[in-house]
């Protein structure tokens, strides 16, 4: 590194630390209190509260409870926006076919063998993050992005054509993506539909029974904490995010010549 570069780095570091010091002293405005605030206390008290069945979210994990129960509608629209972005990329790449006839080249046998091991291990980690999303840190989006790493690895190590030959094609991934979103929507209105059938009042994005709507997703199955709608939301979000990222990565890794034949 040159002397001038070192000087620039040192001045950036001094600037950041002095800014942080001024902020911590309250020089840039009012500092929020350090102790647990009122809103956080409400969230913590109602995330898992078996003594008040009408005021609980049925999972141990507050973050998942906030994302999919307290503010479920917000996350639903985030997922919908993500879905729209994926649809836009698919629309740009319309008509581009991934030819599976040519042989895929890929990397060396050493890289392929190591990747074959990770192809089993990474999906297991992703599934555990998704299925334990209401018990331990994690959730649908986290699990989906972990699972996408498998696709990145296989596209880079084995090649895209090999992936297509194995049956991971664009229509199938698009179907999986839509199934994920439909699943999230159905889970959101599931209790309303069930309430219509049996003649009980229910709200959308309802998880546990409320005062005027005495119908709920299962909180415990046997002695396993099931998490009500949180588990369903996590699983469907896992599928949706994984399929969405996979689709974009597959479209991005098509050869330039193939794309230029269609898009001029």
């Amino acid at each position: 590194m040159k002397k001038s570069e070192i000087c620039v780095i040192i001045s950036i570091v001094i600037f950041i630390f002095s800014l942080a010091y001024i902020t911590s002293l309250g020089g840039l405005g009012y500092l929020p209190p350090v102790d647990v605030r009122k809103l956080a206390q409400i969230y913590l008290a109602s995330t898992y509260n078996p003594y008040q069945p009408t005021n609980t979210s049925s999972g141990y994990e507050s973050v998942t409870a906030i994302i999919w129960d307290f503010r479920g509608l917000d996350t639903f629209f985030e997922t919908a926006v993500f879905y729209g972005a994926i649809i836009a990329s698919v629309a740009i790449y319309r008509g581009v076919e991934i030819s599976s006839k040519k042989k895929s080249i890929g990397m060396s046998p050493i890289a392929k063998t190591v990747t074959r091991l990770s192809l089993i291990l990474i999906p297991i980690v992703a599934a555990s993050i998704a299925f334990h999303g209401h018990l331990t840190p994690g959730g649908g989006f986290q699990a989906g992005s972990v699972a996408t790493v498998v696709i990145v690895l296989s596209i880079m190590v084995f090649g895209l054509r090999r992936l297509v030959q194995k049956g991971v094609t664009k229509p199938k991934i698009l179907l999986l993506r839509s199934l994920g979103l439909i699943g999230i929507g159905l889970t959101a209105i599931g209790l309303v539909l069930a309430g219509l059938v049996i003649g009980v009042n229910a709200y959308i994005f309802q998880n546990q029974a409320k005062a005027m709507a005495e119908i709920s997703y299962p909180m415990w199955i046997d002695d396993v904490l099931f998490g009500g709608s949180l588990l369903f939301f996590n699983i469907f979000e896992f599928v949706a995010v994984m399929a969405g990222f996979t689709l974009v990565l597959m479209l991005f890794s098509i050869e330039e010549e193939e794309v230029k034949k269609v898009i001029k």
Binding site: E5, V8, I9, I12, V13, I16, V63, I129, P137, G138, G139, F141, Q142, S145, V146, T148, V149, V152, I155, M156, F245, V248, L249, F252, S253, E256
Partner: protein
């Protein structure tokens, strides 16, 4: 005592992340710049872990070290590897 160690560790990784970000900006070779950017993101993930945000760590590592560099590498392959002056 533990607090001093935590603060020192935070300071070390944040300085490392600043250096990595600076190298990523001035680097002319795109592939090396992407690697520097991934190092910076890994440091951020460590900071999130120390600040007790495991949910963010779980999504930050695959997105910033796995997916973003992969997309940027695909884009680099389609354009030019070296930055022109």
């Amino acid at each position: 005592m533990i607090e001093i160690f935590t603060l020192a560790f935070l300071m070390l990784i944040s300085v490392t992340s600043v250096i990595a970000a600076f190298k990523a900006i001035i680097e002319k070779d795109m592939v090396r710049a992407i690697v520097y950017s991934a190092i910076q993101s890994a440091m951020y993930a460590l900071i999130f872990y120390v600040l007790m945000a495991p949910d963010i760590v779980l999504v930050y590592i695959p997105v910033s070290v796995g997916i973003t560099p992969a997309i940027l590498l695909f884009v680099t392959k389609k354009t030019e590897r070296r930055d022109g002056d």
